[in-house]
């Protein structure tokens, strides 16, 4: 009797569905090819119709909004008269908030550059591709690193009095502690959800929280001299 082949080959072809795929499954792996029957629709007209419809609905919403609310227009630019506070556009107010705590070379140059670089490298980082729960492997080592990073970050923020950024950091850190102490088979859906999250997810979620909080604080809670004000008491 001859040795069994090192692999089995399969082929599936159906013009109306996914393109032909040839699969080679080596003996020692138990690969499962899922979603063979993926239903497809034609871009013209079905997808294009939906896209146009979505854009039209958006256009209607924007037109209605533009009829109701006027774009701001203040007095003519006057270099001799500085408004207090002088604010950047809202999407930069998170950075301007950081500018309040750190020198411009940190908040204005280093942080944005690091942000862009980290966004660009996300897909090239191996740890994101694995996409397995952060604490499911090397649990001890990773927990140590996590605690060190979290405490270090909190001490850093408090040291520079960036209290605004503490709350999002705390929330994410607590969620990570919950994730570390949950099992993938936990009966609680929320725990199962957290435990499956990879490192990239945690970093991005932390970034999202900080972005929202810093931008909101810069937009609504900062008054003359960048002092803390409550928007409903102006």
């Amino acid at each position: 009797m001859s040795d069994p082949k090192e692999f089995v080959a399969g082929i599936e072809s159906d013009q109306r569905r996914s393109p032909t795929r040839v699969v080679f499954v080596t003996r020692r792996t138990s690969a499962q090819v899922k979603a063979t029957y993926e239903e497809q629709v034609q871009t013209y007209p079905e997808v294009l119709f939906r896209a146009v419809l979505a854009i039209e609905l958006l256009a209607i919403a924007l037109v209605v909004f533009s009829l109701l609310f006027n774009a701001p227009l203040e007095g003519i630019a006057d270099p001799s008269h500085t408004p207090n506070p002088a604010k950047a556009p809202w999407y930069f107010l998170g950075l301007q908030e950081l500018l309040h705590y750190f020198p411009p070379v940190v908040a204005g140059v280093l942080v944005p550059t690091l942000l862009i670089v980290s966004l660009v490298i996300i897909p090239y980082f191996n740890i994101n591709i694995e996409a397995d729960g952060l604490f499911l492997h090397h649990r001890r080592k990773r927990l140590q690193t996590f605690y060190l990073t979290a405490v270090g970050m909190l001490v850093f923020l408090v040291f520079f009095r960036v209290y605004v950024a503490v709350a999002p950091t705390l929330i994410v850190a607590i969620a990570m502690v919950i994730a570390a102490n949950s099992s993938p088979d936990s009966p609680v859906t929320f725990r199962r959800y957290l435990v499956a999250k990879p490192l990239a997810w945690w970093v991005m979620t932390w970034f999202l929280f900080e972005l929202i909080v810093l931008t909101a604080v810069g937009t609504f809670f900062r008054g003359p001299g960048w002092s803390w004000v409550l928007p409903w008491r102006s």
């Binding site: 993926e38 079905e46 604010k87």
Partner: protein, 262 residues
């Protein structure tokens, strides 16, 4: 008389001129519909077919489509606004006042441009986070993610350069605050600051530079990147579907089963 109109449309669609422009013809067959995409220079950026699952609102929230929608609105309103705008001091501000009080629907035009711009910035961010949480940046789509990050930057620059154009207090000081940050770059900070503003402070030169960037350079760059962004969706295997098992596997066709039984 619907019968007559239908006949007229049919005649036009079968005319030599129409067929010379739209080569695919007007049939409803799969082939005709595929050709309608493939033989159109703009539509051929997209794939012929899309996985049905990706059409549901929850899978993408249509954020990329909507971002492109705001971009289109901004091009149309922006070009119309250019007809009434002079990038000079103090005429720029006077043009704002004209748009507000003299030009028919001028105020509405500026409102729509302004709010669409804000919506675009918001949608670009939302699109980025949605793509991230779907895991749609993973191989082979890494480079399309990078192009997306470039488009995010271009969007922010577009919005930022547009912010100065009304030449009011809000514009002037927002740009002053923002451009001062560029001075903080080590070694070449003051040079970058000078290059950006065409001077040491925000003045008429800065307005002209921002105008050129806002109306010519950045939109054209954005358009180029958007085209590549769309095209790469097709090249990288269509809209990304999460690797998890689909909710419901369609049963194999009878024909397939019959073939296997043989």
């Amino acid at each position: 008389m619907p019968g007559k109109t239908d006949k007229l449309i049919e005649q036009v669609e079968h005319s030599r001129v129409w067929r010379s422009i739209f080569r695919s013809g007007t049939g409803t067959s799969t082939l005709h519909r595929a050709l309608a995409i493939q033989q159109n220079v703009f539509l051929h950026l997209f794939s012929n077919k899309v996985r049905k699952r990706m059409l549901s609102v929850s899978s993408t929230w249509y954020l990329g489509t909507l971002t492109f929608g705001t971009f289109l609105i901004l091009i149309v309103t922006g070009v119309l606004l250019m007809l009434y705008y002079h990038p000079s001091v103090p005429q720029a501000y006077a043009d704002m006042k004209d748009l507000q009080f003299v030009v028919s629907s001028g105020l509405f035009l500026r409102n729509l441009h302004r709010w669409s711009a804000q919506a675009m910035v918001f949608l670009v961010f939302a699109h980025m986070f949605k793509v991230f949480y779907r895991g749609a940046y993973r191989a082979p789509r890494e480079f399309n993610w990078v192009i997306g990050v470039m488009l995010l930057l271009i969007t922010l620059l577009l919005s930022y350069t547009g912010y100065l154009l009304p030449w009011d207090q809000l514009a002037y000081w927002a740009i002053t605050v923002g451009s001062n940050i560029s001075s903080a770059v080590p070694l070449v900070g003051s040079k970058i600051h000078f290059l950006l503003l065409g001077g040491n402070q925000v003045n008429a030169n800065a307005l002209l530079r921002f105008y050129v960037l806002h109306c010519v350079i950045l939109p054209l760059t954005a358009l180029l990147f958007v085209a590549v962004h769309f095209w790469r969706i097709r090249k990288d295997g269509g809209l990304y579907v999460q690797q998890s098992e689909p909710k419901k596997l369609a049963a194999p066709d009878d024909a397939v089963l019959a073939k296997e039984a043989k």
